[in-house]
């Protein structure tokens, strides 16, 4: 679900096909019939943006029919935990949880806690900008709690306040009939999928979910994944071979970009950036981020070792290991905020390092307008992407909104080295690090990012070498010495990888994060990558052919952490340490050696058997009971109900997308209450649901990728073969919608939203079918989003018409479900384009629809039956 794996991850899809050959059922639930649907054993069409309703229906089916894996649920999850009686559910409050604050449009999580847990705001991990942790954090209990199980539990799962019963009540109205009304599928489709999942789970069998950005790019995206996690926990499918939830990421090292983040809110290894608060010393940070049990129990060792990697010998216990040099965050500083900052003039200089927001970011028109406000812009890429040339060929120049001679932005285009012109590691979607050798030297001025960042830092430091300004100290004291190689003076990537791996005080390379110390005697640039260079061997460069090793391929590359291939694999054994079944065995407790053994690296304290009980005062892994596999949580239990860590509620709930032609059939509250929107004239929204003007946008729109292209096109529209294979922007519509709007196959259509209007070739196909939703027929429009103005093949950008509305947890945009209008023919040229768009209704202030003149009127009322 939320993935077209055959199209977008075709080479990995060979394994799905092999599984199908061996009898596995492959079910595809998607708004469109795609290459994946064509090769699946079952396809279910649902309306874009309704996956939580569908998944919630599966949860309801499991609970109504008693299909849960009872022993797994009782022992390994927080289903038995009793929640405080102050908690109120969306069932009680019309789509809100208790703790809602209308003024700040956010939740406090005090009433989501375990009964008997400390009611004071708990410290927690993953600070998302709040000065003190509110509804964030990985949490658990107050620091120093001796034992980790929730204070009150009911192992019979009968107590009305236990998580299991709350869950049952929460999803009780997600019946097959109700789900069908929301999603546009049939009740039997839902029953079929739910039954297939249940029949293929349990001791003898496992089932797996695969998702991609079809799940994440929603204003309630995190909760999509949470719903799948709840299903997999109820069915006992986590930590076991053939189980799990597989995120198929879309870029070569997008996993690496979160592990060693270039993200505003985290430091390497998912350590939170420190927040702006009154007490800002290292000790406060460590206290607030340390969990009483599990892998987050030794945050002190992780952060001190990172600071030592950053500031080397300058970082000492006396100066708090230079913790003070870290900048502080005070809210959302994500990429979209930076764009708004450009519009407002607060962001003045910007680096684009292989990224093309003028085509690739939601509401890309806004990004082009924003770039034109900058003082300076550095673009590093292989080719002249649209973000580098917006000042002379942005569509806004054609409409007369921008004029080249008026744009103040100074632009530096710096040619980049390609993947074969530099050595380094990518981390793939399975957490696997693989090293690439350098095959050739980059030509001309082309350089790697490694070269660019190193030399930029060197030059800035040289220019400031004599500065006595305290602001420059963190920069001047930074450990910034790397061996340089070759004529271009390229930094040695392996030296950087060794810094990431970390060292002992004597310089010996570390082999495991368990060796990290909080006293400053170890360095480590990313604690989860510790061990990738163990014993002085670059393990990411291991390439033992698959025919010379086992099915898991454990000697090809290196997976974090500790080359472990299945996380939480303690759950592959029962509480007594025995495999759940012979057929599905992976790890088990070996009495003779008093260790966990099996085909993987155990994700648990290796010598803590099933009988291990944490002694008083135990911390980190030693505080995890021998029967509790989920060591990322202090209680060792997986969280069906999240008392903290998710800002939009402890349980997933179906909400309509920000832009949708429908009201919420389940709750008076239409869309996710704390979703992020940005009201300003330059960033309008379509009216939705029952609002006036909503009928101007009667269709559901979704965006997607094609095998032959890559995201914003910088790596595909400039490649002759790929351009030939997919030469033109198109839209997918059903024969019914084509008839309704007089769209001709192979002709042109114009897709209109309150942001912009784009044109596309019409592809009339039965792959995308009208759906019956809430008693009316709705049509969907599919839009690939690869095109722009530059390159070999050109076309309008789908991201011009999508809205800028974000998930409140992770600030990801909702581009997989929105509303639109579609009309026959090409879009107007020049200033007429804006006149067409402005003739449509729009929202630029919360709850306030600007009803436009009725110029758009022909054929835009809600249609069909």
């Amino acid at each position: 679900m939320g993935s077209n794996m055959a199209e977008n991850h075709p080479v990995a899809y060979q394994w799905v096909m092999e599984a199908r050959e061996r009898g596995a059922q492959v079910i595809h639930v998607d708004p469109r019939f795609t290459r994946t649907s064509a090769t699946a054993t079952k396809w279910v069409q649902i309306r874009a943006g309704t996956d939580i309703a569908f998944l919630g229906g599966i949860v309801n089916y499991i609970l109504e029919n008693g299909r849960e894996f009872r022993e797994y649920v009782v022992e390994y999850t927080n289903a038995p935990a009793i929640i405080t009686d102050e908690y109120r559910d969306t069932e009680d409050l019309g789509g809100f949880f208790s703790g809602w604050d209308e003024a700040s449009r956010s939740y406090g999580n005090e009433t989501w806690r375990y009964d008997g847990a400390d009611p004071s705001p708990m410290h927690g991990h993953r600070e998302m900008g709040a000065p003190t942790d509110q509804a964030t954090g990985f949490g658990g209990h107050s620091a120093g709690a001796p034992c980790c199980d929730p204070p009150h539990m009911d192992p019979t799962l009968e107590d009305p306040r236990c998580v299991f019963q709350i869950l049952k009540r929460h999803f009780s109205r997600y019946t097959p009939e109700r789900v069908a009304e929301i999603c546009g599928c049939s009740p039997d489709d839902l029953r079929f999928v739910a039954r297939a999942l249940c029949d293929n789970s349990g001791r003898e069998r496992t089932a797996s979910f695969v998702y991609s950005v079809g799940w994440t790019q929603h204003t309630v995206g995190v909760q999509y994944i949470r719903t799948a996690a709840i299903i997999q926990l109820l069915l006992g499918n986590i930590g076991r071979p053939g189980g799990g939830i597989m995120a198929l990421r879309g870029h070569a090292s997008i996993q690496g970009s979160t592990d060693i983040p270039t993200l505003f809110d985290i430091l390497p290894g998912y350590l939170p950036m420190p927040a702006a608060q009154a007490r800002h010393d290292l000790r406060t940070y460590i206290e607030s981020q340390t969990a009483p049990g599990g892998i987050w129990g030794t945050v002190d060792a992780y952060i001190v070792s990172l600071l030592k990697a950053y500031w080397g010998d300058r970082a000492t216990a006396e100066n708090d290991f230079c913790f003070d040099y870290l900048p502080r965050i005070s809210g959302d500083h994500s990429a979209y905020q930076a764009t708004l900052g450009m519009m407002d003039g607060s962001v003045k200089g910007y680096f684009l390092l292989g990224e093309n927001p003028a085509v690739g970011s939601a509401h890309s028109r806004l990004h082009r307008l924003a770039l034109a406000h900058l003082d300076w812009l550095v673009v590093r890429d292989l080719v002249e992407i649209e973000s580098a040339t917006f000042w002379r060929d942005a569509p806004e120049i054609e409409t007369g909104e921008l004029r080249t001679g008026d744009i103040p932005t100074e632009v530096f285009f710096m040619p980049a080295a390609s993947h074969v012109e530099k050595a380094g590691s990518f981390t793939n979607t399975q957490r696997l690090l693989q090293w690439r050798d350098q095959a050739v030297e980059p030509k001309g001025d082309a350089r790697s990012e490694l070269w660019f960042m190193y030399h930029l830092g060197r030059i800035i430091r040289e220019k400031l070498a004599n500065s006595t300004d305290p602001r420059d100290r963190g920069l001047l004291e930074l450990a910034w010495e790397y061996p340089l190689t070759g004529a271009t003076e390229e930094p040695d990537g392996e030296a950087v990888l060794r810094e990431i791996n970390g060292r002992q005080a004597d310089g010996t390379l570390l082999s495991a994060s368990a060796q990290l110390k909080a006293d400053g005697s170890t360095t480590c640039g990313c604690w989860i990558y510790c061990g990738c260079y163990a014993d002085g061997v670059n393990r990411t460069a291991r390439r033992k052919p698959h025919w010379e090793q086992g099915l898991e391929g454990r000697e090809w590359g290196w997976a974090w952490p500790q080359n472990r291939r299945i996380l939480y694999n303690r759950a592959s054994a029962d509480p007594q340490g025995k495999p759940w079944s012979e057929r599905k065995k992976l790890m088990w407790w070996d009495e003779a050696s008093q260790r966990w053994v099996g085909d993987d690296e155990i994700d648990f304290a290796p010598d803590h058997g099933p009988d291990y009980r944490p002694p008083d005062g135990a911390r980190a892994l030693a505080a995890i009971d021998g029967r509790r596999p989920f060591i990322a949580h202090p209680d060792g239990r997986a969280w069906i109900f999240a008392p903290r860590g998710v800002v939009d509620g402890p349980l997933p709930t179906h909400f309509e997308p920000e832009e949708s032609p429908f009201a919420n059939l389940l709750y008076p509250q239409r869309a996710n209450p704390p979703r992020q929107r940005f009201f300003r004239p330059a960033n309008p929204y379509n009216p939705s649901g029952d609002s006036p003007g909503a009928d101007a946008y009667p269709f559901v729109m979704t965006t997607y990728r094609l095998t032959e292209h890559h995201t914003a096109g910088g790596m595909s529209r400039f490649v002759p073969h790929l351009s030939e294979l997919q030469p033109e922007m198109f839209c997918e519509v059903s024969p019914e919608l084509a008839a309704l709007r007089a769209l001709e196959h192979g002709g042109w259509a114009t897709i209109v939203t309150s942001r912009s209007a784009i044109e596309a070739r019409v592809l009339v196909t039965e792959r995308i079918r009208p759906l019956d939703v809430q008693g009316k027929t709705v049509h969907q429009v599919g839009l690939p989003y690869h095109w722009g103005r530059n390159g070999i093949v050109t076309g309008d950008s789908a991201n011009d018409v999508v809205p800028l509305a974000l998930d409140p947890n992770v600030h990801i945009e909702e581009v997989k479900a929105a509303s639109c209008d579609i009309r026959p023919g090409r879009r107007p040229r020049g200033p007429a384009l804006r006149r067409l768009v402005e003739s449509y209704p729009r929202i630029t202030r919360d709850g306030d629809v600007t009803q436009a003149p009725q110029e758009h009127a022909p054929g835009t009322r809600s249609e069909g039956r």
């Binding site: 300076w376 080249t404 074969v420 050798d437 095959a439 030509k443 930029l456 950087v496 790596m715 070999i792």
Partner: protein, 192 residues
């Protein structure tokens, strides 16, 4: 060519003689094509790489002759892709050798209407100056919060957005340098 040899070289004869009745194999070879060799055979060196498109991580073999990439193929030894590549991965030789690749720094001055040439060293020096000046201009030692006036030690005036084809080592240096500069808005495609 001798008459007998010419007779033997007739396609119909070769189809029968070589058990290639449909003429889809060796019988279809001409003298010219028989002499052809795949670029993979004539390469000076072969390097191990990984496909730069999606996150499956297909291993590639990069064939190089005279300092130029002549072919990129899937690495049969990889347990992930077993030698296979998709259309994008198969086109990655064209990605790295595309005639549209840029190899020179280009500069557009404020309000300028055309690209101008700029030496790489000059560009690096100018960018460093811009970073220093904007950082000074937009620096925040402290801000007002609900906790009162608190230390932040940062600039919000500079931001960065990276693609997700960056190496781990590159991301490490990006985050390390920008953090030391006090730049907070360091972002990546991974958000999007």
């Amino acid at each position: 060519m001798e008459p007998l040899q010419r007779l033997r070289s007739l396609p119909i004869v070769r189809q029968v003689r070589d058990h290639d009745l449909l003429g889809l194999g060796r019988a279809a070879q001409s003298e010219g094509s028989a002499a052809l060799e795949p670029r993979t055979k004539t390469a000076d060196a072969v390097y191990h790489s990984v496909c730069p498109y999606c996150a499956v991580g297909c291993a590639q073999l990069v064939y190089v002759k005279d300092g130029e990439v002549t072919q990129i193929e899937g690495d049969p030894a990889s347990p992930l892709n077993r030698g296979r590549l998709c259309p994008k991965g198969s086109a990655s030789r064209q990605l790295v050798t595309s005639p549209l690749r840029q190899y020179r720094v280009k500069y557009r001055r404020p309000y300028g209407t055309e690209w101008e040439e700029l030496a790489l060293d000059t560009a690096m020096d100018m960018i460093a100056d811009r970073v220093i000046a904007t950082r000074r201009e937009t620096w925040q030692d402290e801000i007002d919060t609900q906790d009162g006036r608190v230390r932040v030690n940062r600039t919000l005036g500079i931001g960065s957005l990276g693609g997700a084809t960056l190496d781990n080592e590159e991301n490490y240096l990006i985050k390390k340098l920008f953090t030391a500069l006090g730049v907070v808005s360091v972002e990546n495609q991974a958000r999007l």
